[in-house]
């Protein structure tokens, strides 16, 4: 048996998260779910601090709101909305799957194999369509109807 120090370490590392081969769609949904989660978390931590100004005085509130207005911030908030739409709907899909409901029952494997990935594919499609509808509605509200 070769001593462990002589063997060459061969983990994919972060490249295994981002994609290193011909992966399926669900793998990219996983990566996107992580990215949107991190983005939402970063926004949320700042959001707590910014909106706490409503406990101090209306002047502080208005100046805080003024500092986060403008076209750049509007686009940024829309991106947060998009991230939420995806993360929430995909999160519902993941909760259903990871509690064992969307994956199908154990079956005798007969080639070509129909795995849980195939069984949950319709759920994933429905989830993405729903998220898409929300993104469009949000876009409408943000940029057409003049909502901030």
């Amino acid at each position: 048996m070769l001593e462990p120090t002589r063997a060459f370490k061969n983990r994919l590392g972060l490249w295994g998260w981002l994609g290193g081969g011909r992966w399926g769609y669900e793998r990219y949904l996983y990566t996107l779910h992580r990215l949107t989660g991190l983005g939402l978390l970063a926004y949320f931590l700042l959001h707590i601090v910014v909106t706490s100004s409503r406990a101090i005085s209306p002047e502080r509130w208005n100046s805080a709101m003024a500092s986060v207005s403008g076209p750049l911030f509007t686009i940024g908030e829309y991106l947060v909305f998009v991230a939420f739409a995806f993360h929430a709907i995909n999160g519902v899909r993941l909760a259903i799957i990871e509690l064992g409901w969307g994956v199908g029952a154990p079956i005798e494997p007969v080639y070509p194999y129909r795995t849980s990935v195939d069984v949950q594919r319709p759920l994933a499609i429905v989830a993405l369509l729903l998220a898409g509808v929300l993104v469009v509605l949000g876009g409408l509200s943000f940029f057409v109807l003049g909502q901030r």
């Binding site: 991190l38 406990a55 208005n62 509690l99 509605l137 909502q147 901030r148």
Partner: protein, 126 residues
């Protein structure tokens, strides 16, 4: 043992956030499309002081804000903890990550609860 419990709460918190943050997003960003009576009563933008005051007066709102704050902080920081631990840091760093995230979470929860309660009290004076 611990991950079995924390993960269950993570999913539960996600369900709570789905409802409460969904409402928050609707009130804040979809108001022109879906107008909840009484949630943006002063017209204009949802972040105008008048609207903030109207929502702030409601004790129910304060409670839901605190609930959302707690659920979102737990859900987000537990997710961040998972991502950081999966990157396989050395042993001491693992404990440090857990401790830092816990302290940050509790601190932000305390701060946010104060802001919600004080905001409610301030709104009542308007």
């Amino acid at each position: 043992m611990r991950d079995q419990k924390l993960w269950t709460w993570h999913i539960a918190a996600g369900a709570v956030i789905l409802v409460l943050l969904g409402m928050h997003m609707t009130v804040m960003h979809l108001d022109r499309l879906v107008h909840f009576a009484g949630l943006n009563p002063a017209g204009g933008h949802p972040v105008d002081w008048a609207n903030v005051v109207e929502r702030g007066k409601s004790a129910a709102f304060m409670v839901t804000y605190v609930l959302l704050l707690g659920a979102a902080l737990f859900h987000g920081l537990y997710g961040l903890r998972n991502i950081l631990l999966e990157l396989n840091p050395p042993g001491i760093l693992k404990k440090a990550i857990g401790a830092v995230l816990l302290i940050a979470g509790l601190g932000l929860f305390a701060f946010g609860t104060w802001a919600a309660v004080a905001g409610h009290a301030l709104a009542r004076t308007f």
